[in-house]
C-alpha cells in the first residue's frame, strides 16, 4: 500500500484481515494528506440523493457500518437539512423523494422544532429534515484501521516516502522507499502494489511509468472557536459552496469551496474563500459572523480528469480503480477518489480484486469486524 489516508488505511485493514501479508508506506504522519483535513462529515448520503443517488446509497450503508465498527471515532450527532429561501424550498420535494429512493432515513420536522433543537439556526428556516449524518475524527479513524491491520500482521511505515516503483518485464517488481525513521532505504517486493496516494496518485503512478489523470481540486474550511450547532447543518439545495456546518469537539466547521490546484502540496487558503465561508455559514447560523476563527485550512480532492473515465474501469460512481496491467505494469493498481465515509466499501472492492490476482479465496470480513481503539497504533516496531 502506498499512502495511509482513509483509502490506504481501509484497504490495509481489509487485506490484513483476510490474512494477506501487507505493508503500508506513508510519506509522513498517517492521514497527513486529504483525509485528516477533510470536513469530518460521516455522510448520511443526503447531500447526494438528487444528483448522485448511487453515492447516496453507498453513503448510508457505509455510515451505518462504520458507526458499529468504530464507535470511538464517531460523534453521533445526527444532521439537519434546512431550507431558508424559496429556491431551497423548491428543492425540498426532489430532496425528500431522493432520500426515499436511496434509503436515507429522512424525517421532516416543523421549522420551529428545528429551531428548538438548534437554537442557533436562522429565523428564516422554511423547512427542515432530519438525517443520520454524523461526525468523524478522520485522523483517529485512520489510526484505528492501521492499528487493527497491525494487530493482523500488517507492517506500517510512516515517514517513508516512496521514491521508485520498479517494473520488470511488464510486472511490478518492488518499491523503493526512504524510511526516514530508521534512515534507511526500504526495498519492498510484492506481487501487488496499490497506489492510494490521493491527490499525489498521479506522481506516484509516474514513478512506475504509468499515467493516472488526477486533477486535485481544493476546498477551504473554516473552524470557529465555538460550537454553534449540535448537529450537522446542511443547506437544502444542490451541493454548493459553504453549505455544510459540521460540529466537531468545541468547534463548528464551515465548508467548503472548490477550485483546481497543481498538487496536494502547499495548498493556499485564499482570504476571500474564508470570507465567503463565513458569509454563507452566517446565513444558516447567524452567530457565525461574530464567532472568532480558530483556524482556516484547505485540502485537495483527488478528482480524476475526464479522458480516462469511459474505459470501463469505474467500479463505483464515487471512485475509480486503475489496473495498470493494461499499461504494462501488471500488479500495479491506483485507487483514486471516493470519500472517507465510503472507504470501507472501496477497500472491499479493491481487496476483492487483489485476492483475485493473488488467487486467494478469502471473503471480506470488514462489515462485521470491530476496529481497535486508535491508541493501539504504533509508529514503529517495538514502540
Amino acid at each position: 500500500m502506498i499512502g495511509a489516508g482513509s483509502t490506504g488505511a481501509a484497504i490495509a485493514h481489509d487485506l490484513a484481515s483476510r490474512g494477506i501479508r501487507t505493508a503500508v508506506v506513508e510519506r509522513g504522519e498517517p492521514a497527513s494528506g486529504t483525509t485528516g483535513r477533510n470536513h469530518a462529515l460521516l455522510h448520511s448520503g443526503g447531500r447526494y440523493v438528487v444528483k448522485d443517488p448511487e453515492s447516496a446509497v453507498e453513503c448510508i450503508q457505509e455510515n451505518l457500518l462504520l458507526r458499529r465498527a468504530a464507535p470511538g471515532v464517531i460523534e453521533e450527532t445526527g444532521g439537519l437539512f434546512v431550507a431558508i429561501d424559496d429556491e431551497d424550498l423548491a428543492y425540498r420535494e426532489a430532496f425528500l423523494e431522493g432520500c426515499r429512493r436511496a434509503g436515507v432515513p429522512a424525517e421532516e420536522i416543523p421549522p420551529d422544532l428545528a429551531r428548538r433543537l438548534e437554537p442557533g439556526l436562522t429565523e428564516s428556516v422554511r423547512a427542515a429534515v432530519r438525517v443520520p449524518d454524523a461526525v468523524i475524527d478522520p485522523y483517529r479513524l485512520v489510526l484505528s484501521w492501521l492499528a487493527t491491520a497491525q494487530a493482523n500482521g500488517a507492517e506500517v511505515f510512516p515517514f517513508t516516502p516512496v521514491e521508485a516503483v520498479e517494473v520488470r518485464a511488464g510486472r511490478v517488481a518492488h518499491v523503493v522507499a526512504h524510511d526516514l525513521v530508521h534512515r534507511r532505504r526500504l526495498r519492498l517486493e510484492a506481487p501487488v502494489v496499490i497506489n492510494a496516494a490521493g491527490p499525489w496518485a498521479g506522481r506516484v503512478a509516474a514513478l512506475a511509468g504509468v499515467e493516472v489523470p488526477v486533477q486535485p481540486s481544493a476546498g477551504v474550511m473554516v473552524a470557529l472557536a465555538a460550537r454553534l450547532n449540535q448537529r450537522v447543518i446542511n443547506r437544502m439545495r444542490p451541493p454548493g459552496d459553504g453549505d455544510i456546518i459540521v460540529p466537531q469537539r468545541a468547534t463548528s466547521i464551515i465548508g467548503t469551496t472548490s477550485w483546481n490546484v497543481e498538487s496536494g502540496d502547499r495548498i493556499p487558503v485564499p482570504p476571500d474563500h474564508v470570507r465567503r465561508m463565513i458569509e454563507e455559514g452566517a446565513k444558516l447560523l447567524p452567530a457565525v459572523r461574530e464567532a472568532p476563527v480558530l483556524a482556516a485550512f484547505a485540502a485537495a480532492r483527488p478528482l480524476v480528469a475526464g479522458n480516462k473515465e469511459s474505459d470501463g474501469r469505474e467500479l463505483s460512481r464515487g471512485f475509480q480503480v486503475f489496473d495498470h496491467g493494461r499499461d504494462g505494469a501488471e500488479g500495479f493498481m491506483s485507487v483514486v477518489g471516493g470519500k472517507t465515509t465510503t472507504s470501507r466499501l472501496m477497500a472491499e472492492i479493491v481487496a476483492d480484486r487483489v485476492c483475485e490476482k493473488l488467487g486467494v479465496q478469502q471473503e471480506c470480513r470488514t462489515r462485521e469486524l470491530a476496529l481497535l481503539p486508535f491508541h493501539r497504533f504504533r509508529w514503529r516496531e517495538g514502540g
Binding site: V181, H182, R380, G382
Partner: protein
C-alpha cells in the same frame, strides 16, 4: 533500530528548567529550592547547637554568635525561606484537596504576598533590638 534506543531516560533537569514555563513552574522550582535549603539548615542548626557540648563556655559563645550581625541576617534569610516554603505548602494542601486548583496562580501570589508581609514584620522584630 533496537528497542533500547527508543527508551527515554528519567530527566531530572526538567525540575529546574523554567524556560517557557509559567507561574506554576516557578512556584514548584521555588518550593524545591527552599525545601533543599531548609534541609541544609537542619544540619547547620545541629552543628551550631553542638557547641553546647562544650558546657557553659560553649553556651556563652553561642549566645554571642547568635546576636552577631551575620547570624541575625542569616536568621532573616531563614525566615524568608521558611515563609515561602510554608505558605506555598499551605497553598498546595488546599489546591491538592481540589479546592481552587484553577486559581492556583492567584493563590501563589496571595501566599507570597502574605509571606512578604510576615517577613517584613519578623525582620523588624529580629533586627530592631540589634539596631539599638
Amino acid at each position: 533500530m533496537s528497542e533500547g534506543e527508543a527508551r527515554r531516560r528519567p530527566d531530572w533537569r526538567a525540575w529546574f528548567a523554567p524556560r517557557g514555563r509559567r507561574t506554576g513552574m516557578w512556584a514548584f522550582v521555588l518550593n524545591r529550592i527552599t525545601g533543599l535549603l531548609l534541609l541544609a539548615y537542619v544540619f547547620v542548626h545541629l552543628a551550631v547547637l553542638s557547641v553546647l557540648f562544650q558546657g557553659p563556655a560553649g553556651y556563652d559563645r553561642l549566645v554571642r554568635w547568635m546576636s552577631s550581625w551575620p547570624f541575625l541576617l542569616f536568621d532573616v534569610a531563614l525566615v524568608a525561606v521558611l515563609l515561602v516554603h510554608g505558605l506555598n505548602g499551605v497553598r498546595l494542601v488546599f489546591v491538592g484537596l481540589g479546592a481552587g486548583s484553577h486559581r492556583q496562580r492567584e493563590w501563589f501570589w496571595a501566599a507570597m504576598a502574605a509571606a512578604a508581609a510576615v517577613f517584613a514584620y519578623t525582620t523588624y522584630l529580629i533586627l530592631a533590638p540589634a539596631w539599638r
